[in-house]
Symmetry: C2
Amino acid sequence: MDIRVNFERLKGDIESLAQIGRDLKGGITRPSYSKADLIAQEWLKEKIEAAGLLLRQDGAGNIFARLEGKGKTIMVGSHIDTVINGGMFDGAVGVLSGLECLRRIKEENLNLSKPLELASFVDEEGNLVGDFLGSRAFIGLLERETLEKGMTQFGIPFTDVLKGTQFTIDSIMEAHKQRLEIESFLEIHIEQGPTLEMENKPIGIVDSIAGKHYRWCAFLGKASHSGTTPLELRHDAFLGLADFALRSTQHVATKHYGSMVTIGKINVHPGAFSVVPGQVDFSFEYRSTSKETLEELEKSLLALAEDIASTRGLEFKSTVVDKTEPVKMSPRIIEMMKEECQKLGYPFLMIPSGAGHDAQIIAREAEVGMIFIPCVDGISHSPEEMINWKDLEKGANLLLAVLLKLAG
Amino acid sequence: MDIRVNFERLKGDIESLAQIGRDLKGGITRPSYSKADLIAQEWLKEKIEAAGLLLRQDGAGNIFARLEGKGKTIMVGSHIDTVINGGMFDGAVGVLSGLECLRRIKEENLNLSKPLELASFVDEEGNLVGDFLGSRAFIGLLERETLEKGMTQFGIPFTDVLKGTQFTIDSIMEAHKQRLEIESFLEIHIEQGPTLEMENKPIGIVDSIAGKHYRWCAFLGKASHSGTTPLELRHDAFLGLADFALRSTQHVATKHYGSMVTIGKINVHPGAFSVVPGQVDFSFEYRSTSKETLEELEKSLLALAEDIASTRGLEFKSTVVDKTEPVKMSPRIIEMMKEECQKLGYPFLMIPSGAGHDAQIIAREAEVGMIFIPCVDGISHSPEEMINWKDLEKGANLLLAVLLKLAG
């Protein structure tokens, strides 16, 4: 079964989908359930039907294309929603490569033993009520209250977003009941980081997806006049954060190579030239592919913050915004990927995924595997998101080869 | 001439003026030329006329009360405008203590050799077109363009602010032509810092007013995905600022004791949980009572920022927003103040002023001296601004004694 994807067709599909939801800043803005997304959903359904695949859409809006077989399903998928002002490859590469694989298998009339299914999950990007709405709905991990009370990042209730669609909170909550049993799940995605490009490898075989803790924190000090409060009498909340940022970064860089720590959002109060900052609120996130490391980081970094606060006469506060656990990829699938790379002559790198993906949700119910392809300069979630198309061709061929192996 | 101020009358005046311009947050909002300020101006003029002093208002809105004499004028003054949501003592203490001194001298029918004049300068707080509008107009330091093109901090052109008043750009520009020659200028003010209170001294004799450099700066790096960009490959603009904040503070604290450095306003871009900061814009201010130190700080701190930028793969940018030179108080007046403190039995501390005052502008044309009184917890520019009234009584008596000495 030595078949290859039709690369020009795949490339054409990616370029076509990229026309839907173009925004004025040169990027793509296609959050789930938006008008642009509903148009993209229709576009995808037409593609599936034109390919002669069995189309299904569940109550959450997840779209499926099936090739029947016996036993548990071998699934491939990703998402077609985007962040605000995002790029054309994140998500789309996974759905359309999966579609191309199924199309080629159908065209070749291959007689596979197991059923194959493409999945396109809604709101992977978490524009609405947290990451992975579609795959969570698919697995059955949602809580009704999250949907009923959820406020989207657009400042409107989630329930208002649903009004323009055929979907309801009931239909989303029921989506998982329509699910057939999944054996394996594969996803191909751009790396969203610089490593593969730097190492000059067209393929990354993902060994794990990092878990992460999102926290919203604050150092509280005392605002005072910057001209009249001697340095040694200040309770400068911002200097507390500066100290914490450097020392937490140093801790992770020296003791937990490969893990991440980031302070990305900062509000300083009162925020004026001549006033010593009395309070600073900030996002604090750390990630690791190891559960133990994540626990160590939680303990040691919070202790560090408390220590800095006490040394500097400040108060430290922290609340959890979100926590996800690290997920290991299936050793069996990793082995298959390595073998197929060798057969196809594709250089590869074993790589962890720092970003989250639908695969980590599906991992609750099935063995999962992920393929990364490089993206230029590591840029993602941006209109500048770009790939080397030759890498995509390799990645899609690897995906096809592994799917065929899994489906027997 | 062993006379004292009428303290209850002075306290009553301060409490009365504090009723004009009360805002909903429990403070006072009385920027110059606002309705509240025009009412306060009328209130002050009535007080001056009731005291039998010669009232004059110049084309900038500065209000004067004169006791005639021969030769150059001995002036005392401050301002009655406030910051937004400010307190009741900043400025008001100086104007109303000066008024009380002149009132007492008039009541006693003292025959002084030199003329005495109270001045209440407009917009010391710089709500409109930079600090010290009134005293700059009085000395003749304004540029017409600043007024014509000036945007106020309320987001409207300065020329619009003038529309509700009798003042025009012409009248402000001409104000200094009405000025008589000044020999000495005295100002009493709250410290706006914690030092006097901590040292338990009712009187601060100011030896100098710090100069300051206001800069608007930026570190520019590269925004990237916080989950997929390894720490060692990041160009995190915020970590550059964190490093700079700690090291610039350390430099000033260890090498220039008494000088100040402050980062008070910070904007991080793009400012999201999962994005490594690509740019951070921030205010950067340093102050010193020594011209040489200020020059050293300019050179060494900007070099430090460049060094940090180059080490961390960032770019550093900086533009000057404002620069003022340090000003020395008159040694002759300082000596008089010390002597009078000893006679009156008031403990005092020699102290620099980190904040700016009208006195530093008047210093261009006359010898100047300043008296500080403590404020509770060092708090100023806030509804919580408070004093120990007994300290004010001492400060006003000292002011009166020095005025009498200067006026012969």
